[in-house]
Symmetry: C2
Subunit: 460 residues, 2 copies
């Protein structure tokens, strides 16, 4: 079967068999059937459990072979010794796609584990069935309310595709529900990073692909695939297992061969992938690249209610191509008229003195943001301000979202401090137009990588 | 007046005169009198405003000279041209401490500004009055419900002292209400970093001092003071204004001479100060050093519900002295008995497989944490886990706080992911026993600096 069609069965199944679903439900039961019902999954569900006749009101089947319908995807979640037989039954039932959730294969320590993983690949070798996993959360697609994850995930539509080797990315982070669509490759015994990239490259619902890589077999094919896709879609990669010790840990996590750090760095760079240093940068860049337009020039305009964080923003530009340069004379003139005469208007623009002498205080801030957003010499605008209280935070969100809607070709980011930072950044995230950070350094790092990628794309 | 007594008037005033307090109150008025009343400040308050006879039910005085009481601290918050005369009145009324909030002195651009700042220092030169500021939020002390800040601050008792050059630190950050006690030096025309350090060195309510430095005049005295104090109290420093351009911005923010980056780095290191790279590290280390005991050995034990983030924790140790070493045979044996036979128990300890086969699932996690916390070869324990939902997050907090109370000489940190991360980390922060992070890299960076400082202290 052609890979795109195959991947669609994993990512957009119309019908699923849940093999080994438990009769236990409720908190702490991690019941995938219960999860699917709670999401209102769009497709047809066939639980398989030989011990009971129904679970949560849904009829169960003793084996997958007794389901009369065509099944796009089987999800096998049983203890490992049962898996080979159940996978075989899937192939016999003409099921072409299987997620194997169970652990204890190449991620494990004992002799049996390697043997078991080999059994799986042997079973599908001459057949058309393909495997995601084992040792995986499987796939997720919030656009069809589907996930094979046994931990309930949040269904929030966003243009982010994730390819990972841990279920952590399905569960998400405070600043980001990671998955719009996701695939956890786990031990990656069959379906690979390259296969998954093919899917996202052709998926109009995905704008950015974020990868978490512990290791892989066929790096050549992977790199070639990245090279082909990266000019069309932003691809981010966090490569873990960098030191020898971490590589060993990766091997006992997903059985992955981590490979040399330097080789990976060079290969990812060469293939147009945005290589990030750590988890925080992956989160920040996924948010930034999925929400903001490209930067036409690397010069940014900063407007701040505190000079102190403005200085930190400049410090953060030091090791990047980003510039917080002098303002153009016309922009400076416009800003000068708003501020006390003693204030030296520069970039960052310190807007607090103007706010302190205006009624309402917010007016010079709005005007100042408009001036910077309109300046064609400025490639992106960073606003630094506080969420003093809930109302102030809410007001900022409204203001920033409205400006982003008006100036929609200019990236607008913000750095928020104060007690209502979390709420404010989440509200911006939900609106999807302005990206928020908790420190100037994180904001500048993200804008700087956006600038780099924008330049790459503009040269094509 | 001896400096300690002087600093106590700034930090622990029994009586304050609010010179230039506005009659406008309510949201957006930034009224310091209103703030003090809302905190239930422990001392006596004397508003000064010649235009009205009372504000918010408190009698006002036309000038500071007409207040019959002894005033510990005057807070001058008027436009800049009025400041010299008002400061003079303070000296005439025998007031020894003045916070000057007004902007537009050495932070400004025009000729008049430098002249005005010189006037201030001339006024106090041969007198006993000392100045904090100008261009400042002044001081804060949550132990007496006091702050001169015109932005309302949160009163949360914590053993953190802040010396800064921006009011941002009084307002705080999502993961941290920064100030237990704070002093914003602003332009620092008189009271200096060294003066402020003397106060915190002798203050039993302060465990950690966090500094935000843009620049200063007398660096020699500062460095000597740091050298003397750092072996007794942890001092953190974020030095901003590193590049030439940032230094210029610092000059127009607080009139500070930023100095050379390399010189600062060497001087801070030499003086036992913990020099941080950015704002996030300052926040993380302030939390870590104020909450956790010292580490007796640099080896940490990691217990995780996800192997993926465990690998990232090892990666993060690469450029530090921290070690996630092999477990001792006895500890490994204890953990082996809890886990499926196929699992290769290492460090990080992957506890999820044990949790999946236990009832209740939390039991192996508690037992595993106890095993690591009891191991004398392990200097600190890092737990990596998810806050899947509010209840799960709350349960984790209770569990971790109880363990920290039992093993109170062993630092316990955690890395939390999932949708309830924010709430969970804040709850831990409020309890003050376990420090929480959003990524493994941040957790390891903080533990690594805790380890460094612990070694320094143990050598004394």
């Amino acid at each position: 079967m052609q890979i795109l069609k195959q991947m669609k069965q994993f990512m957009e199944p119309q019908s699923v068999a849940l093999i080994g679903v438990s009769r236990y439900t409720g908190e702490g039961a991690f019941n995938i059937l219960e999860n699917l019902l709670s999401y209102s999954y769009h497709g047809r569900i066939y639980p398989v459990n030989p011990s009971v006749s129904e679970i949560l009101g849904v009829k169960t089947f003793p084996t997958v072979t007794e389901i009369a319908d065509d099944i796009d995807l089987a999800i096998i979640a049983t203890p490992r010794p049962l898996v080979p037989r159940l996978l075989k039954e899937c192939t016999e039932s003409n099921i072409k796609s299987a997620v194997i959730v169970a652990q204890g294969f190449s991620d494990a320590n004992d002799e049996e584990s390697k043997q078991l993983q080999k059994e799986l690949t042997d079973i599908v070798k001459d057949r058309q069935t393909r495997i995601v996993g084992p040792n995986t959360f499987g796939t997720a697609n919030v656009f069809t309310n589907f996930s094979s994850s046994f931990v309930k995930i949040r269904m929030k539509k966003q243009p982010t595709g994730v390819i990972c080797q841990t279920g952590v990315f399905f569960i998400g982070f405070p600043e980001m529900t990671f998955v719009g669509k996701g695939i956890d490759l786990g031990n990656a015994c069959d379906i690979s990073f390259a296969d998954s990239l093919e899917y996202f490259a052709n998926d109009s619902e995905t704008k950015v692909v974020a990868m978490h890589i512990e290791g892989m077999q066929d790096t050549r094919n992977f790199i070639d695939t990245c090279k082909r896709i990266s000019p069309k879609k932003a691809i981010l990669a966090l490569k873990t297992g960098k030191s020898e010790q971490a590589a060993k840990a990766a091997q006992s996590h997903t059985g992955s061969l981590a490979g040399k750090k330097e080789v990976w760095e060079a290969a990812l760079k060469q293939s147009g992938v945005i290589h990030v240093a750590d988890l925080e940068e992956l989160i920040d860049l996924t948010r930034t690249l999925s929400m903001l337009p490209f930067m036409e020039t690397p010069k940014i305009g900063v407007i701040t209610i505190t000079g102190g964080l403005g200085v930190m923003a400049i410090d953060a530009c030091q090791n990047s191509d980003m510039k917080i340069d002098k303002l153009s004379p016309s922009t400076k003139r416009l800003l000068d008229t708003m501020s006390p005469s003693w204030l030296n208007i520069g970039n960052p623009v310190d807007i607090w003195p103007a706010m302190m002498t205006s009624q309402p205080p917010i007016k010079p801030l709005i005007d100042g943001l408009r001036v910077l957003l309109s300046d064609p010499q400025i490639g992106a605008v960073l606003f630094i301000g506080a969420a003093f209280d809930e109302k102030w935070g809410g007001g900022l969100c409204q203001l920033l979202n409205e400006l982003a809607a008006t100036y929609k070709d200019k990236p607008l980011a913000c750095c928020i401090y104060g007690p209502y930072t979390d709420v404010t950044i989440k509200e911006l995230q939900d609106a999807g137009k302005v990206v928020g950070f908790t420190t100037p350094e994180r904001a500048i790092r993200a804008l700087s990588r956006l600038s780099e990628y924008s330049q790459l794309r503009s040269r094509l």
